[in-house]
Amino acid sequence: MRGRRHANPRSTVSLSTRRRRAGYVFSLPGLVFLGLFLAYPLLYNVWTSLHAVRLQELLGGSSEFVGLDNYRTTVAEPDFWHAVRLSLVFTAGSLLFQFTIGFALALLFARPFPLGGLFRSLLLIAWLLPPVVSGTLFRWMLEPDSGAYNALLRAIGPDALGHDWLTDPGTALAGVIFANVWVGVPFNMLLLLVGLHTIDPELHEAAALDGANAWQRFRWITVPLMRPVSVTVLLLGLVYTFKVFDLVFVMTGGGPVDATSVLSVYVYEIFFKFFRFGEGAAAGLLLLLVPLLAGALYVRRLRGEGEAA
């Protein structure tokens, strides 16, 4: 779109207009798809959030317009804010470890070594597994009696290290974050690895010649040059992590008590356990705000990179 020139108006305008029209025609199937499966549901959700919709209204078809009442109810609900807090801790905890471990692994795999490619591919399995499968696996592995992790902890330390991770409200969230870190590390590693490959090796060679040690080269060459990639990875991670539902639901179902009722679980329960559709839609849209913000930032960055290049 940018950089259109008008050197010879008559001929190029008609050509570009024709091209633009053809473009619209070609993108029509995509637009219809987006409209049907993205815009319509989203708008329907907005409509629902503005009406008092429960099971009766859903069936009757007529529901009362209540303005922002559903939003007010949601915001006044302490459980909602509890869920927001949990979601923030879950996201921050997941991102911190996913990113640092992913970065470390990316540095490891940046240099070729025997079987490196194989290990890298194997690591990807974590990311490719459906969350229901990884969630179930981790639930078993964190089992107090027969789980692998507790057996390992007891083997290397005193028996007291063995712990019922998922049924203790104090540690359940940590257990879920642990599983989600495992799921997210490969994604971080892969993107960061691509970033590492874009750094000109001559920079490292030149610095080494100047007497910089490994730490100095990492601190003053790798880290600054990786900043744009890192921000992108973290933004994408934020979008993915904030809305994680399946993994948490399979591992703990939101419990014990409400120790792992992150926002997505909270919204699910409002919808399908309590059948308060209006309120659920409002909470769902509020849940969308954070990823939406991160998404907008990400798109702006992409555009910025495009202009810089």
């Binding site: 549901p41 099971l55 009766q56 009696d145 179902g253 008590v257 409400d258 969308l288 990823p291």
Partner: protein, 413 residues
Amino acid sequence: MSYPVDRRGFLRAAGVGAAGLGLGSALTACGSDKKSGTVTLTWWDYFTLDNFQPAFTRLIKDIEAQVPGVRIERRTFPFADLERQITLGAVSGDLPDIAIVDNVAMNSLAGSGLLADLTERVEEWGEADQYYKGPWDGCRVDGKNLGIPNNSNCLALYYNTGMLAAAGVEPPTTWDQLTVTAQRLTSGDRFGLAMSAIRTEEGVFQFLPFLWQAGGDLDTFATYGATALAYLDDLVAKGSLSEQCVGWTQQDVNTRFVNGRAAMQINGPWQLPTIKQKDVEYGVVALPRDQESATCLGGENWVVMASSDHQDKAWEVLEYTQRPSVLVPYLVAVGNLPARKDLADAGTWASDPALRLFLSQLPVARPRQYGPGYADAAQAVAEAEQSVLTGTAAPSAVAKSTATKIDKALEQR
């Protein structure tokens, strides 16, 4: 590449859209074939396990042969999906004619206007007094019959005969005896008692008997909820009940029992086939009583959808299934108990001592009949139990705050 819509929101709404597209074909699919006069009834249930299939195949074959002009089209859903599927079906108009639903689902379905009122037909039929009070009341909402019982079950106390003999104790009949017995039976990695306190309806199903036995109900939770919670808290404090039970389903509980990791368990008759396959010597007694004897009613109800164009035929089918000659083989084949008193001496439950015990408890089995706010109230109860058993809250304090939540939930209409 941006993702402005959360995936579930998308799926949910896409489902609504897709269901809408499917509406046309669904409407044509369930209708009557005018020429032959045969009516096709769609039927939904959640009996998906393989061992249930012969019973349903036979029942449907019998219906199609004996009820004139009826063909059945059965569709099964996973247990957790049926109620949600009916809800989604209410939006898209894709609903069955008849369904077999969990008795606790009557709370949410009753207020929705989704279920056909069967009161007049039931009165004309005149067999209401043949049913146990609990199961029958569980089908009645505001004086109207919105269904009839399909089968019933309830909770009782299983015990490992060998372990009790070795410890020299008798099966407990009161709360105090349960405390002492459970403690005597606890040793090493074996717990005296196992039960489910998970954060779903299963956990609530297992907790409510304690509330009722204490003499209370959901509307007196501040007092009697505290008593029940304190009692269970004490079992955990004494080490007789593992606090891990907040993560156990009833299936998990049974696994512990058959593996000898628990000497007693609270569970239902549907576990009997699994237990009988294992090498466990067991007995079953009524749940220990405190102020009252009580257990929680489980099982399923038949319902007819208000949207059905063939309610008369649907009722004919339901009535047919309740004939003793049809009902007994069906219940024996699915391993469930009858909700009818007149069948007490008919099937396997007449000879099997364990089944007989469960059947004997049906008169004190209470339905969870609290209205549309029940799901919210149940969640509050589950969280109260979990917070006490995991040691994050004191019974009396949490009972008081939970009572407020329950009152608020049950007020809504």
